[in-house]
Symmetry: C2
Subunit: 299 residues, 2 copies
Amino acid sequence: MGAAKFLRGLLRIADPSALTIIVNTGDDERFFGLAVSPDLDTITYTLADRANGRTGWGLAGDTFACLDALRRFYADCGWFHLGDRDLATHIFRTERLARGVRLSRVTAEICRRLGVGARILPATDDRLRTVLDTALGRLSLQDYLVRRRGRPAVRAIRYLGARRARPAPGVVRAIRDASAVIIAPSNPFLSIGPMLRIPGIRRALTARRGVVAISPIVGGRAVSGPLARLLRRFDLPISPAGVAACYRPFVDTMVVDRRDRGERGALAALGCRTIVSDTVFISPDRAARTARQLMAAIA
Amino acid sequence: MGAAKFLRGLLRIADPSALTIIVNTGDDERFFGLAVSPDLDTITYTLADRANGRTGWGLAGDTFACLDALRRFYADCGWFHLGDRDLATHIFRTERLARGVRLSRVTAEICRRLGVGARILPATDDRLRTVLDTALGRLSLQDYLVRRRGRPAVRAIRYLGARRARPAPGVVRAIRDASAVIIAPSNPFLSIGPMLRIPGIRRALTARRGVVAISPIVGGRAVSGPLARLLRRFDLPISPAGVAACYRPFVDTMVVDRRDRGERGALAALGCRTIVSDTVFISPDRAARTARQLMAAIA
């Protein structure tokens, strides 16, 4: 959500063809046998200007006739909302993957058909799954986050397959050659973490400078989701410094909200310089202003 | 279509739990990677009283948002209409088949969820595909019938897999033990033919008496579809006798429309007795009257 909101602003000031967006696949999951990639789709729909801005997932104006009919066949399917038009994306992806086409290629096909100008890359074409060991047992990311609303107490987070996963074609080069790498204001455990556990991605990030992260913690609270609880669980402060700690050693700049300007010292202690801006993207205009400031500071 | 219309009538006078309906799978096809069984679905939806009676396929009141979105991904997908609620059936079937569940089992599951009282059996769980060698090359049944509207000149009809296909569980016993076997007024080449090419089914039919067929030819014309052209192509008369010839040697009774009462002699020459009735099922009431007359004549 935070990532999508930031991207909407960034696209107002940047040339889409100059952007590569590397997206988490750790929450990909099969629903009804269909290959659903929630993060890829949110980003793709956002960049196609077709996202449902109100809910943060799915397509604007979508209907739910198929899901409604699926309830006859699946007792427990009400919690993950797949719209009729959204389903077309999953049906297409499932069919292409079954033919042996790689996820990165399918993603490019989807982007082309939806008129997305920027390049969207899944972090990996290999199997990567974020699972949470919780008080309720092991849960997939979507089960934990959507169905259980991020409430179960988390004992451990596992990124299954990450260690053997290879970065998708283009990912390492994009990280290496970009004038800047921006880590969007997302959950460092659930949205960014899975990608950082891929050795090739971690190496590429560590090998360069100019890795900027936008803090998803503002005024001691997470902008959305269970991030505050997870930082506490892993004994990290609920602050930009807590987030920066997740991105060591490669992050060198943190973008924090005005109300967190006092965090400068804590961030300096972690070796990070601080950019103070607006990081609660209540509108694309607000996000565009922050993006412009960010680009200027990086240049 | 003719089969569905007859069944609607039959169900008004018969106990559904006493009926077993054996259905063609030769026109099953993958669309967008989804396992679609057009004949099974038409029969299932009809018996669930959810069929779209106007079009002859799909669910009443269905919408087409997903198909509309699929057009972005597939250049050539407009000709086979899959509604949003109909898609739920295909998604469920595809997922179950992928898990290794047999089509007959999945069909039973679908019937149970849709509240169908009669037993619907696919002719076989094995792969069976009707293809037509035409002036346009080899076409699948749906491609020929739906997309090309049955127009291309047919050179040969092939039932791929039929010779090795085994009847689905319950099929042979149903044929053997039924008080009567009724072949619905369907196309003997495209709808019934594929089933008759399965050796186990042909054997079961040939081993018993009381196999009744309702003629899909009325007044020298096919009630629907390209049947007249196919009879001509295979040098058979466009008449109930032409249909009966397709069902030799096991058919012993033909049900013909009043206007075909003059066919009695030709049918007797083929060893068939004739029941004269109304066979153009313009309403379920009409079909019920014919069904009642038919059951009385059989008993």
